[in-house]
Amino acid sequence: MLEIRTKRGKVLLQLLLILMTIPYIVPLIQMVAGSLGGRGFQNYKAVWDTGVVPVFFRNSAIISAGVILLVYIFNMTAGFGFSKMRFLGKEVYFWLILVALTLPEVILLTPLFVTFQHLKMYNTFLAVILPQTALQMPFTILLTRNFLNGVPDELMEAARIDGANTVQSFWSIVLPLTKPIASAVIVLTLINSWNAYLLPLLFLQSPDKQTVTLLPQFFQGEFTNDQTKILAAAVMTAIPEITAYLCMQKNFERGMSAGALK
C-alpha cells in the first residue's frame, strides 16, 4: 500500500509498527509478570489444585457450542431468506431484526430473570444460551445477508431449471458457498459467547455451572484478594483462547475479507 523505496524508509516504517504495537503487549506482560509475583509458579499450582478451572472451561465450551449451533442454523436460513426469497413485508421483518441488534443485554436481565425462575430454567445452561443466541443473531444475519447478496441469483435459477426445489438448492448450492462467511460468523460468535460476562454472572449461581469469565471473581472469594493467583487464573484462561485464535487466524481473516461489512 505504502510505497517506500529507500532502506531508511523501510526501517523507519518497521520501527513505527513496533512502537505502535508495544502498548498492546504491555497489559499482557503485566498479566504474566503479576501472576509470577510472590510465590512464582506455585501460584499456578495453587489455582490448578482447586480443581475448578477445567469445570469452568467445560461450562464455557458447552455454552459456546450451544450458541454457535443455534446461531448457525437460524442465521443461515434467515440470511438465505432475506437475500434470495421474495415475501410480503420483508423489509419490516428485516428492520425488526436490526432493532434487536441495538438491544443492550442489561435490558434483558429483569424480564428473563423473572421468566426463567417461573420456568425453572434459572441456573441452567439454557438460561445463558438462549439470550446469547438472540443477542448475537441480528449481527450475523446482517453479515450473511450481505454476503449472499453477492452470490448471483442465476445459480439458483439454474438449479431450479434442473428440477431442484428451494430446499435442495439451499442445501447443495448455497450452503457450500457460504463457507467463508460461516467461518467469520463462527469465530465472532465464539469470541462473544466465550467472553460473555453479565448473563452468566446473573443466571448461573452454582460454581459447577459457571463460566471462565467468572473465574477472577471466584478466586477473589477463594484466595481473599491474593492478586497473584487471580492473575495466574487469568493467564490460564487466556492461553487456550490465544491458541485457539492462532489456529483459526487464517480462516478468520479470509472470512472477514470475503464480504463482511463492505
Partner: protein, 293 residues
Amino acid sequence: MQRGITLSGFRKNKGVVWILPAFLFLVVIIYYSMFFTFDLSTASWDGLSPVREAVGLKNYEKLFGDKVFWKCLQNTLVYLVVTFVVQNALGFIFAVILHSDVRLPTLFKCLIFIPTILAPATMAPVFRLLFSPQGLLQSIFNFLHLNITVDWLSRPDTALFVLMSVTIWEFTGMSFILYYAAMSQIDAEVLEAAQLDGAGNLRTLWHMVLPGCRGTTVSMGMLSVIGALKTFDIPYLITTGGPMHATEFLGTYIYRQGIRQSHLGYAAALSVILLVLAVAGAFLTNKANAKEG
C-alpha cells in the same frame, strides 16, 4: 376462487418460512423482554412483593431530575467520540502499514488482534493492577525517574480516560481487521498508477484509500454508537462506575438501580430510554450514510 387466491398468496409468500425460525426466536426473547420492560417502567416494584404499584410516568419524571442519569449520558458521549476516533485511526494506520512491505506481518496482526479475543472479565484484574501504584506503569515511571503517581483509577478526572484506553486496547483489533479486509479489495493497480503519476503516499491514502474504506468507517460508526450505549463490562469490572459516578454508564447505572438496589421500575424506565437512544442512534447513522452514499 377464494381458495385459489389464498393458495397463490401463500405460494408467493412462502419464502417467509426461511426467516420465521430466527424471527420467532427473537420475538420470544427480545421483543418479549422489551414489552416486559415497557410495562415495568410504569410501576414501582422491588422484585419480591407480589403486587406492583402502578405509578404512571413517575419513573420517567424522576429520571429527568437525576444528576447521575445526565452524567451517564455525558460519559457515553465523550466515550463514544474518543474511542471511535482513536480506535479507527489506529486500526486504519495498522492496516496500511501491514499492507505495505514490512517484516513479520502475521506476528503483528496476531499481537493486535489478541486483545479482542480476551474477555474484559479476564483482563479486568490485570488493568486494575496495571493502573495502580503497584503496577508495571509505576515501575516504568520510577525507573525513568519520572515523578508521576499512577492513581488514575481512583481519581474522578482521570478514571474515564483509563477506561477509554482499555476499550481502545480491546477493540483496535476489530477495526484493524475490518480495514485490512476492505483494503484488500482496493485495486492495487490503481494505487500504483497514482503513485507513478507522482502522487505521494499521504495523498494516495487520503484521496484513494480512505474513501475506498468508507463502508467500513460507516459500519464502525454504527457499531460504535451501539457499543458505547451498551458499555457495561469494562466500567463495571474495573471501576464499578466510580469514583463518584465518574465512570457511570447507562448499563452500569441500570444494573446498580435494578439488580443491586431493587428499584426495578426505575431501572426499567432507564432501560427504555437506553433502548430509544440506541435505536435512534443506529437509525441516524444509517440515514446519514444513505444520504451521502
